[in-house]
């Protein structure tokens, strides 16, 4: 995409956030930086607890509605820092400039009102439309997201729709006010494969046509491969690698990315009996240690890694927060040294 020619649309710099838990603050985000250019699709990938959703919630300033809060950094959308806006300002930004598509549409859609009424309400809240114009626009939106018999569907209630249709309605709602940025948080995770394929195709078509930028949050590398222009891989509240989608998949530079890709059983490669795994599990975020968070699970770990955190990634290029020689990473994951493997397999906590 045209990522380098234009001013970035969204600029996240050194974002930090914590969640409060009974056992103390959980450091969910530890300096996350990335940019999204207009019209670009950036995928945030990682496993549960890596900070993908905390990032989305922080951008939308919704994290304080959970038990979390942003403790540092900035989120600039078109030059304004969203974190310093008051609640009214944020509400104006949400919906009209940034829109969200969640995993479960049923929690977002109002079960007691028709699809048409909900679309109309959103349209009229953000745009100067009269009732008739809003109706017409609502119909247009449903047709845009390829909902069959759109006119009848305007009169349907959410529970009368299938999961796939509901997610299409959510996308229509998200796009209703021509936002500059759509954040899709595991938007296809709850769907079946055949439905997911249709929704992914729809999302790809709509972003290309409208030029809307998108941040896709997912754990599914297949979804990333199909949808993203650039990919940011998250681990323990940090972005450990960022780059163009082809570079990430063809030549990962961070051992975690390489390990993650190797751990996925694939349909297009030979069926092998054992998968390469990353042994162990992510570190506790209760008290982050100095050094690289991946050091205990890394087959390339050096003494330096345990004490000194690697340089953070450079959001503009393909880069990884890792001390190891990229050439060694490219050679693919190896099992840890024998002694380490046994402890790793036993998942010492």
């Amino acid at each position: 995409m045209s990522s380098d020619s234009q001013e970035p649309l969204l600029q996240v710099r050194n974002l930090r956030a914590v969640y409060d838990s009974a056992r103390g603050p959980v450091h969910a985000l530890n300096g996350v930086s990335f940019t999204v250019s207009p019209g670009e699709v950036l995928a945030l990938v990682g496993e549960s607890g890596s900070g993908k959703s905390a990032t989305a919630l922080s951008i939308m300033a919704l994290i304080q509605r959970t038990s979390g809060r942003v403790t540092g950094g900035e989120v600039r959308l078109g030059g304004r820092d969203l974190l310093t806006l008051d609640e009214r300002g944020r509400r104006a930004v949400r919906g009209s400039e940034i829109a969200l598509v969640f995993q479960n549409p049923m929690t977002t859609l109002n079960p007691t009102r028709t699809i048409g009424a909900q679309l109309r309400e959103v349209l009229r809240r953000h745009l100067p439309l009269d009732r008739k114009a809003a109706d017409a626009r609502a119909l247009e939106l449903l047709e845009m997201v390829e909902i069959p018999d759109a006119r009848d569907r305007l009169k349907s209630y959410p529970h009368q729709l299938s999961g796939g249709l509901r997610q299409r309605v959510m996308i229509a709602l998200a796009l209703s006010c021509d936002p500059k940025l759509v954040i899709a948080d595991e938007a296809t995770t709850a769907l079946d494969v055949t439905t997911q394929a249709q929704i992914l195709r729809l999302m790809r078509r709509l972003t290309t046509e409208s030029g809307t930028a998108m941040v896709v949050i997912t754990h599914n590398m297949g979804v990333v491969a199909g949808l993203a222009d650039r990919v940011a891989v998250m681990y323990a509240g940090r972005i450990v690698e960022i780059g163009e989608v082809r570079d990430i998949f063809r030549a990962p530079r961070h051992p975690y990315t390489a390990g993650l890709l190797a751990a996925i059983p694939r349909m297009d490669t030979e069926r092998s009996k054992d998968l390469v795994t990353i042994e162990g599990r992510p570190p506790s975020l209760l008290d982050p240690k100095p050094g690289c968070p991946f050091v205990e699970r890394c087959w390339l770990a050096m003494d330096k890694c345990a004490v000194q955190a690697p340089e953070p990634i450079n959001p503009q290029t393909h880069s990884a927060a890792c001390w190891a020689d990229p050439e060694l990473v490219r050679q693919g994951p190896r099992p840890l040294s024998p002694e380490l493997t046994t402890t790793g397999a036993k998942e010492l906590s």
Binding site: A263, E347, L348
Partner: protein, 362 residues
Amino acid sequence: MTSLDKGLTMGVDDREQTAPAPLLEVDDLAIHYRSQSRATRRMGYAVRAVDGVTFSVAPGETLGLVGESGCGKSTIGRAVLKLVKPTAGAVRFDGQDVTQARGRALMELRRGCQAVFQDPYDSLNPRMSVGALIGEPMVVHGLAKGDAVRARVGELLELVGLNADMASRRPAELSGGQRQRVCIARALAVNPRFIVCDEAVSALDVSVQAQILNLLHKLQRELGLSYLFIGHDLSVVRHMSDRVAVMYIGQLVESADVDEIYANPYHPYTMSLLASSPVPDPEVERDRPEAAVRGEPPSPTNIPPGCRFAPRCPFAQDRCRQEAPAYAEVEPRRWVACHFWREAKAASARAVPASAAPEPTA
């Protein structure tokens, strides 16, 4: 021990010459639920969760059962485990009728056939310690007592890759992967020969999922286990299975050896599943042809007449909408339920879905 005797008598049996006797046989199984809402129940509607399913699993074999959510694959697993009562049909484990098993026969079945469920956060009683959870099956089956239980719990924990001293912990203190290992240890506590893995890795993160898949492989090699591996992720099922059966709204539509079915599907639904599954490769994904499948599966309360896939099928003709195709063995070890499987097969051979073609590895 009785099962060992049976194995010996089986050896004398003349079936020995042809193929090993299946460990699990499911024969024309049907499970219908009454509708939840009173209004539709009066009209006689039933949810036909499973409708005439037949398959078998040989000793040491893994049968993968794939399908989308609500297709009834988990219900089959539950019928095999005698957690739900079939409306019709038979489930035989080791020649014994599972559906009629009671008392001692049921306990024997439970010793032979165990389960690992989907959600590791839900399948361990939060109020029991790991040791109590793993020890419980041994205690209720009278396999061990006191210190022997403790020793065996330690062994099992080591077997599934955990520390023996984890026995004193509570499930809440463990990660998802560790919990799933505990579930596996609990299933292994009675030395079963068969394990139903009901979406056993679906709730896990990719790297943990790989660990658990490897563990299941290891246990199969070392203990000679058979699995019924129920899942919705086609690549995971492919990775685990020797044979694969594909399910669509309560019925099997196709089954075959794993490499056969993935490389060369005969049923249009299998084709569309394969064509829809995302592959972690941008090159493949960007060049993916428009998948042929339209719409979404109908609800099992409102099943279309004729072939259930007909409304979404690119090969459907009038006959499909009137007459349900039989699930038949069209080639050795290949079962298909489609009137026009030859046409579909020919079409799929012409345009092999990119995702299903095994790349020649260098």
